[in-house]
Amino acid sequence: MDEPLPETGPLRVLIADDSDSDRLILQTMVRRQGHEVGDSLTPFDAVMRGVPGFTGAQVVQDDLTVVTLEMVDERELADLPNRIPQSALQGPAHWSCVYEINNQTLSYFNPLPLLLHICMEVPGLRRRSGEVYTLLSELYTNALEHGILELPSSWKSSPEGFGHYYAERERRLADSEGHYIRFTLDHKTSRRGGELRILCKDSGAGFDFAGLVSALESGEPQARYAGRGLVLLQQLSRSLTFKEQGNHVEVVYHWDFTEASTQN
């Protein structure tokens, strides 16, 4: 505090600190600069005392939440167990829902944020939002682009083809009448964690998934710049299954209470 304070006239300064001696030192320094200092308090008491001053005679109708945070050195945090606290067991454990978008809505509405939001109500899934989003988004993209719009991955074999693919996506999307994509989410918890089952069904004609599955197993890419979505689905989930004509895909995803977050 060698620098003089700016020329704004005397200020009223609220000093709050957990340490008694620091409060005293600060008080002395600030007073010496010509400013007014009220009672110095611990931060919590200072905030609590400031509340009626701020709200005046008004009867407080807001819910009031005051949080105290303890600042500690990072090293002390390392010993905390990397697990979800018991309170995280609250939230929906057993639930399912079906969400379908159809007809022209397919051409402009993105259902992924909503679906993700529903899943994020489960505390154990919240810290895995990236993975859950990837599962939902890759399933949805496949259903829409390949299932309904019948865009072939083989176009993505050259830069020009890649551009053509997305130009055609936009063109075909203009007419999605008579089509649907239906998500069925099903969740249950167990003693150790939980299982999220995502079924995605589209109104398309399906495809030869037997051939695709064997190609996936051999690690052979379908086209130079495509085919990586299914690999992501496969790697992130417990199982990936094609049903009916291939227009019905099921992903089973497991999460575990005790497992350290895979995202760290």
């Binding site: 939002s129 990236g130 993975e131 989003y133 990837t134 988004s137 890759e138 993209t141 993505k156 830069p159 890649f162 551009g163 997305y166 996506r169 130079r224 710049y225 495509a226 990586r228 979505g229 690999v231 992501l232 790697q235 992130l236 895979t262 995202q263 760290n264």
Partner: protein, 101 residues
């Protein structure tokens, strides 16, 4: 979603910064970012510090850049990925194709 490019003073390095979700909607802007650069550019930096998410179509786009920049001879560094982005790149074995930091 937005893409910003910056040429370094050395003239040889192009930084492409991707903001928000890196997915198919970024496709044209991402290609424009490197295809209209001049021939002197030999090093590419993909700055993901503000990239929230990356999907499988973005993986295809990164491979397009890699081939444009010379395939196995390409000098491309992917920087500042968040955990989700990093995980997608790792699962897809992109660590063998790009310098990821």
């Amino acid at each position: 979603m937005a893409i910003h490019t910056k040429r370094h003073e050395d003239g040889r390095t192009l930084t492409i910064k991707i903001e928000g979700r890196f997915d198919f909607s970024t496709h044209q802007a991402f290609r424009d970012a490197y295809e209209h650069g001049d021939q002197e550019v030999s090093h590419y930096v993909i700055n993901m510090c503000n990239t929230t998410y990356l999907d499988s179509s973005a993986l295809g786009m990164l491979l397009l850049l890699r081939d444009y920049a010379g395939g196995d001879a390409a000098r491309i560094r992917i920087e500042n990925c968040n955990n989700d982005v990093r995980r997608i790149l790792t699962i897809s074995n992109f660590e063998q194709l790009f310098a990821i930091r």
